[in-house]
Symmetry: C2
Subunit: 231 residues, 2 copies
Amino acid sequence: MGAPLLRGLSREERARVLKAAASRRLRSGEALFHQDDPANALHLVLEGRIRLTQVTAEGREVIVRLAGPGAVFAAIAVLEGTTYPFDATATQASRLQSWERGVLRELFRHIPRLEQNVTAIVASHSREMLDRLRELSTEPVPQRLVRTLLRLAESDGRPQAEGVLVDGITRLELAELSGTTLFSVSRLLSEWQAQRLVQCGRGRVLIRDRRGLERLRRVPPGSAPRDPTAV
Amino acid sequence: MGAPLLRGLSREERARVLKAAASRRLRSGEALFHQDDPANALHLVLEGRIRLTQVTAEGREVIVRLAGPGAVFAAIAVLEGTTYPFDATATQASRLQSWERGVLRELFRHIPRLEQNVTAIVASHSREMLDRLRELSTEPVPQRLVRTLLRLAESDGRPQAEGVLVDGITRLELAELSGTTLFSVSRLLSEWQAQRLVQCGRGRVLIRDRRGLERLRRVPPGSAPRDPTAV
DNA sequence: CGGCCAGTTGACGTCTTTCAACTTTGGTGG
DNA sequence: CCACCAAAGTTGAAAGACGTCAACTGGCCG
């Protein structure tokens, strides 16, 4: 599976690490933990998808990340030994491996590379959050949605004849990943479909013209062919 | 100074840690490093203030964090050993201590508590970023500005007779911390000043009524005394 | 076959930004 | 010590982007 967690470990080391984990299955919709629960374990997704969300006081959700096969979550929380900073819920039937704090530290002592990997994972999540922060602060909705789609295509997309398919994701989830509403997502996707950039259906978006979408990103404002007579 | 980095260390341990650091002074406006520079060192602010920013392709800035006395930055980057994820620039004359990667690891080996502290710092920054992410996604500008002000009051504010003073910060910086524009910040502060919630001047905001501001946060919409005749 | 959930679309309002003009403040050099 | 200048801040007007609400459609599963 090429999980970044196990990158660079020997066959024996991998076996040892995997043997130390607890296995767990979740049904679609089942919660693994909630925000502010004590953080017992670091989790690796083997199969399925886990949605990590923060919920506002008013009940509006923000998706922090969608963790698919190979993804790790709750790394910092478990190292620090405090509480989880978000809810974790399966959006599909899923299989996980989980390492408790003590077990993980023990493994680190024998397999330094594992600790390196966890550090690298924490760093990459942190960079991704910085990127999203910047995007939310400075970019308009269409650009943010494009970024969300391309990010999903990168991490979870399935190559197809016509393009890259991103599926198992609703308009609402796309909105909560992009910091906008269900309605804006629907409108934008309809528009892009008319331009043949994407092809979409219930729970799925097929990216047909990646370049076209990326181009959208850099031409945000009323930049329809500008009239040069309007000095 | 009660820096979280040194929390829980004995006098001897502190001395050892501080002796291993390189000292550095920065003039106001001077850059310490730029985004994508190789991350050599973890930095602790002794005096002054360091502004950590990401710059967009279009040249718009986002402030990731303002690091004042006692604050640490670039912790993850240096542990991972890659590159800095933001620019660091002094907004005032500043004094820093910096630990190179190898030095830091060596210290960790002898003083495990130091590593714990760094982990806790990384975790708290990560939590703060999650909070800001949620706020940017779901809250309107006035609420975000209130949060920014209260956060600054918490970390950098100086208690005064009339309230808590946050100074050395421009409207533009407040805007870049809140994900809005200079103009919106100016308008909102004027309005709040008229309501006696704050008192502001060039580069300074005095928070006179913390409770009043917090109350603002939970009453977002056009909830001025609503006219009940307009069913 | 019915109901439900996901999605679509239009109308409408408003929050925010943008742009331009103007004022205030504080530091510096004469 | 004063005058001047640049930087910081204010304010109004206008446009536009997005969100909200409501009504409607279409596909899927039981």
